[in-house]
Amino acid sequence: MGPLPRSAGVRFDTRTAISPEPNDAALVARCRAGDHAAWHELVERFSRYVYAISVQAFRLPHHDAEDVFQEVFARAYQQLDKLRDDEAIRPWLGQLTRRLCIDRLRAGAREAPAEEVEPAGIDETISELDEAFAVREALAAAPEHCREVIDRFFCRDESYATIGAALDLPSGTIASRISRCLAGMRKFLEGKKPAASAV
C-alpha cells in the first residue's frame, strides 16, 4: 500500500467528540433503568474493546473468545448496580474481560496461578487497546463520510477499490478522503488530553 496523498483539512465537531453522546455515565444509567436501546448502544460501544482484549491480549481461540464475550456482557448486565462510578464502565469491562480470560486460560492449564497463564506483555497490549479506544472515540467527532471510510479502511481492512465500489467513488477519492480525515483526527487528538490508562 502506497503513502496516502496529502490534501485539504476536514472540520471535526469538537462538541460530540470530547464526550460521545450519550456519555458513558448517562448510558449506564439508562441501561440500569431497563432501557433496551441504551443496552444496544452500550454493547455496540464496547464490543470491539472486549473482543480485542480476548483475541489480541489473551490470544484466545475463537470459540473461547465468544464465550468470554457473551459472559462479559451477561455479567455486566447483571451487575451494573455494583458499578460505583458510571464513568468507569470501560475500565470495569476491561477488568471483567481480563478476569474471565484468565479463568478460561486457567481452566485449560489446570489451576495454574494467573501470572503463569497470562501471555507476556499483557499490560502493554491492554494499554495499547486503551489508547486505541480513545483514538476511536475521536472518530465520533469526524463527519459521517470520514467515519465510514476510516472504519472500512483501517478496521475492516477494505481496499480503496472495495470502498470505492461500495460508495460509488473513484479509488483516488477514497485515498484523498482518508488522508484528509486522518489529518483532521490528528489535529483533533493533539488538542485532547492523553487518555488515562484504565485497566
Partner: protein
C-alpha cells in the same frame, strides 16, 4: 512533538476491528432473551399444559409466544426442562 501522527492513528484504529456481528447481536438481545426465558420458565412451572406443549416442540412453542427461537435460548430451555 505530537503523540499521534497519521501512521500511529492508523495503527491504533487497526487494533479495534469489529467483533463478529452475531456475537454483538446476541449480547444486545440478551436482556430480551432473558425476559422471555424467565417468563416462559415461570409459566411452564405453573402451567402443566403449557409445559407439555413447550417441551414437545420448543421452537414452535416459542414462535407461538412471539419469541424468536434463538438456538441458545432453545438449548437453555431444553436443559431446564430435561426430565
Amino acid at each position: 512533538m505530537s503523540r499521534y501522527d497519521e501512521t500511529r492513528i492508523g495503527e491504533l484504529l487497526r487494533r479495534l476491528p469489529p467483533a463478529p456481528e452475531a456475537w454483538v447481536r446476541a449480547a444486545q438481545e440478551m436482556p430480551l432473551a432473558r425476559l422471555g426465558l424467565d417468563d416462559l420458565v415461570r409459566r411452564a412451572e405453573e402451567d402443566a399444559e403449557f409445559r407439555t406443549r413447550l417441551v414437545a416442540d420448543l421452537e414452535a412453542a416459542l414462535r407461538e409466544e412471539g419469541v424468536a427461537p434463538d438456538p441458545k435460548l432453545v438449548e437453555e430451555l431444553r436443559r431446564r426442562f430435561q426430565p
